[in-house]
């Protein structure tokens, strides 16, 4: 009897297993790692309608916040690898292992698309007595501890950018913690902090309005949005190993998702990411479009992980050594 049930179940399960040539045949769930109104949320909600057009199905998006994105990552990993649950996230999971925040990172996922990346810059109060990184470094060296900068938590953009700078020159800054670059940029305008490292897009409008000034560009080439600002590699050529580096937005599915589904999703996102409206929104916000998938995406992710993990480890606030997870040190060019 039991055997009979078992065999019936087995037959049923074969019958029920989806034929992936028809993918997608139902709505797709998009799990957003960050809260409503945040940058990840806005980026994902602005590309989704274009992807829906390509796939001919709806993407139902849900914000599952918490644990610096770990809750959403764990959730998607716990679902079936059938291509119906997408993880829509930012760069954070790449640091989970060394920071001891979780066991699953993007290495356990298949990248559908790395949509875009941000460029880190340094902004300062308008009346600050320094206008570029050289003057800034000199000023901090002459006035140790006097300059206050905003921090957004270990593993966040500020911590990695300051670790990069630290690898070249030791600076005594007073580091005031904030919950994100939004509140920190507000504090810069309130005069609570003097300097802030942030992603270009978050500060560009305040700069355009003359409420703060750009003093540094963490990239190895100039950026059209901040003309006349020298890339940091002019002053610190040693940083070219790490750059370009920047927080990114990406869409992932669980490893083991059928090839057909992955390819269809990758195609849909690749086409959607070239949509003029979407590209305009992204470039206006100061993001650099990437639109990577497959091997290109994987190698970008690996580089991000290797640069950030070792920087954080060398700066002394990693819980585990990147070597424990076979993360190679970034190669010098």
């Amino acid at each position: 009897m039991i055997n009979k049930i078992k065999s019936t179940l087995a037959i049923l399960s074969i019958a029920a297993s989806p034929v992936f040539a028809d993918y997608p045949e139902k709505d797709i769930q998009g799990i957003i790692q960050w809260g409503a109104g945040g940058s990840t949320d806005t980026v994902m909600r602005s590309i989704a309608p274009h992807v829906e057009d390509e796939l001919g199905t709806d993407i139902v998006m849900i914000n599952r916040t918490g644990g610096v994105g770990a809750i959403a990552t764990k959730y998607v990993y716990a679902q079936k690898a059938d291509g119906y649950t997408l993880l829509m996230g930012a760069e954070n999971p790449q640091m989970y292992k060394v920071l001891g925040l979780g066991e699953i990172d993007y290495g356990d996922m298949v990248p559908i698309s790395i949509l875009a990346r941000g460029t880190p810059i340094f902004v300062a109060q308008n009346d600050a007595p320094y206008n570029n990184m050289r003057e800034f470094v000199e000023y901090v060296q002459q006035n140790p501890g006097e300059v206050r900068t905003g921090m957004t938590g270990n593993g966040g953009l500020t911590s990695i950018v300051l670790a990069m700078l630290d690898s070249q020159v030791k600076l005594d800054l007073t580091r005031v913690p904030y919950n994100g670059d939004g509140p920190a940029l507000t504090a810069l305008q309130s005069g609570t902090i003097d300097v802030m490292s942030t992603v270009l897009g978050a500060a560009i409008d305040h700069v355009r309005a003359g409420r703060m000034k750009v003093i540094g560009l963490m990239d190895n080439s100039e950026n059209a949005l901040v003309p006349g600002v020298e890339p940091i590699t002019e002053d610190f050529p040693g940083l070219s190993n790490y750059l370009p580096w920047g927080p990114f937005f990406g869409v992932f599915v669980k490893q083991g998702t059928p090839e057909e589904a992955v390819i269809k999703l990758q195609d849909a996102f690749r086409k959607a990411a070239t949509n003029e409206d979407f590209v305009n929104i992204m470039t206006n916000r100061g993001y650099t479009m990437m639109n990577l998938s497959g091997d290109e995406a994987s190698s970008f992710l690996d580089k991000y992980k290797s640069v950030s993990s070792w920087l954080v480890y060398d700066a002394g606030y990693a819980k585990h050594s990147p070597a424990d997870f076979d993360i190679p040190r970034p190669e010098s060019n």
């Binding site: 109104g37 610096v68 770990a70 005031v176 309130s190």
Partner: protein, 499 residues
């Protein structure tokens, strides 16, 4: 003249008018259901209205925001479940009014006063936005900390008969508020290794449990009691009442605008501080606060709706969100190809006046929708307890789940419901607990931020307070309340005065 034309944009188009009306109507219901937040509704609308014209999308979203902040008061008054944290202060006196059979009157009064508050907020937004946003930016971490301490002093107002029990409850709330990743260092606090606890215990789960579930558990004791008949003859408050309470409403609305405009605080803190203010200035309320004082209801409702206009001030002038909902609005403007930064006012002045116009219209629709259907609503709580209590249970569970689509929040809600039930049995008020949960993070974060910014030098910290007029005012307010409220200090001062 041009601004008038932009102001009228949404008034001249039947489509936009209809969408604003629809938004306001939906907002009232979204706001009334605990766990469904305005933030959530507005962000879902972003993708829904993606292909729409920007003005259409904004009308719908503004309506939802305006209606949603008000809607929270409905369930707060009728069922003691605040629809959102901003309606906690509403429940304190609104629910006792409903228990006395005056639910209809309470809803009517709260509607009118919400609308008054809304207009004050919009008025300040229209005439003084740049001024207020500069003022809001002047707030330093130490000032936010002192605002939090001012708020914590509300424990004195919320304690009921025993201050000691109130302080215990407040401290418990602050302890609950510390659970999760340390907001500054991301160190784990009281998480016992569970990732699910990193973000802490959601205040809304605590709120639904302590207010809604605990109340209905307590109601089980009174199943045999006759149901109170709701008087629904006079719903629209008399002109005399409105005139009498208008000064208070204007005062508390001003508190709402300022607190709403501060990027670090929102409607829930505004309403609680306004409630405290009302309690201090109302020398002779007809009924004591906490037992159905209309003053308390008015303060809470006018201030949280005034906070809506307030929250738009830094958003429209500087691109800095005044609260979570305006943060979503910023996202929406981006998606529609606008740059809602500090340049918006210069490059697209039409957007500013369009928002002011639409907010005004939504506020008028609020008055219309708010005053209709009250009879049915207040009759709702006349249905037998055997039906009502299970409905509240289900509503609480659905509400808790929808905060974050997480079953864990249901368990928290149930746990706090049972805790709240026993607290009520032993004469502890639940108000101070939720106050502690909401304020602990504000105080914790800002105290540490302030002291870190001074390189842990207490002398420099106090020097900073005495160098800033704003900080000095806040400090003196704290000292004055402390001196006037604590009995042994009061006696001591009295003795000195006599001798």
């Amino acid at each position: 003249m041009e601004s008038l034309q932009f102001f009228a944009t949404s008034w001249l188009s039947p489509d936009l008018m209809l969408l604003t009306a629809l938004g306001t109507f939906l907002g009232i219901y979204v706001g009334a259901i605990p766990g469904l937040s305005v933030t959530m509704a507005v962000s879902i609308l972003i993708s829904f209205t993606f292909a729409w014209d920007i003005n259409n999308a904004l009308c719908l979203m503004v309506g939802i925001y305006m209606g949603g902040v008000y809607g929270g008061s409905r369930t707060a008054i009728l069922l003691n479940i605040p629809g959102a944290p901003a309606a906690i202060a509403t429940a304190l006196d609104g629910y006792p009014l409903a228990k006395k059979g005056m639910a209809g009157q309470a809803i009517g009064l709260s509607t009118v006063m919400s609308v008054v508050g809304g207009f004050v907020g919009i008025f300040v937004l229209a005439v003084a936005a740049p001024l207020v946003s500069d003022f809001a930016l002047a707030f330093q971490p130490r000032d936010y900390m002192m605002l939090g301490i001012l708020g914590i002093m509300l424990v004195g107002s919320l304690s009921g008969e025993s201050l000691a029990k109130g302080m215990f409850a407040g401290a418990l709330g602050m302890l609950i508020g510390t659970v999760g990743l340390d907001p500054l260092t991301a160190e784990e606090r009281f998480t016992f290794g569970h990732v699910e606890l990193w973000e802490g215990i959601h205040p809304v789960a605590v709120m639904i449990g302590l207010f809604g579930l605990a109340e209905s558990l307590e109601q089980l004791h009174h199943l045999d009691k006759a149901i109170i008949k709701q008087k629904v003859s006079r719903i629209v408050p008399s002109w005399k009442d409105v005139k009498r309470f208008l000064p208070l409403s204007l005062q508390t609305s001003s508190i709402g605008v300022i607190i709403g405009a501060l990027p670090g605080t929102g409607g829930e803190i505004a309403a609680l501080m306004a409630y405290d203010h009302a309690k201090r200035v109302s020398k002779k309320p007809e009924v004591p606060f906490g037992q159905g004082a209309k003053e308390g209801l008015i303060a809470a409702e006018s201030s949280n709706n005034a906070a809506v206009g307030g929250a738009f001030i830094p958003m429209l002038t500087l691109g800095i969100p005044g609260d979570a909902v305006t943060a979503v609005f910023i996202g929406a403007l981006f998606i529609h190809g606008l740059n809602p930064g500090p340049l918006l006012l210069e490059t697209k002045p039409d957007m500013f006046w369009f928002m002011v116009g639409t907010l005004t219209m939504a506020n008028i629709f609020l008055l219309i929708f708010g005053l209709t259907g009250i009879k049915i609503f207040s009759k709702l709580i006349q249905c037998p307890k055997g039906i009502l209590i299970p409905v509240i249970f289900v509503l609480s569970i659905v509400g808790a789940y929808s905060i974050n689509n997480s079953v864990a929040d249901i368990w928290w809600m149930l746990g706090f419901g049972v805790l709240g039930y026993f607290m009520k049995l032993y004469g502890y008020q639940v108000g101070p607990v939720i106050l502690g949960v909401i304020l602990s993070r504000l105080i914790d974060e800002n105290w540490r931020r302030a002291i870190i910014a001074e390189r842990e030098d207490l002398g420099a910290f106090f020097a900073g307070i005495f160098a800033s007029p704003l900080s000095l005012i806040l400090l003196s307010a704290i000292m004055l309340i402390l001196l006037s409220k604590v009995s042994f200090i009061k006696e001591w001062v009295g003795r000195i005065a006599r001798s």
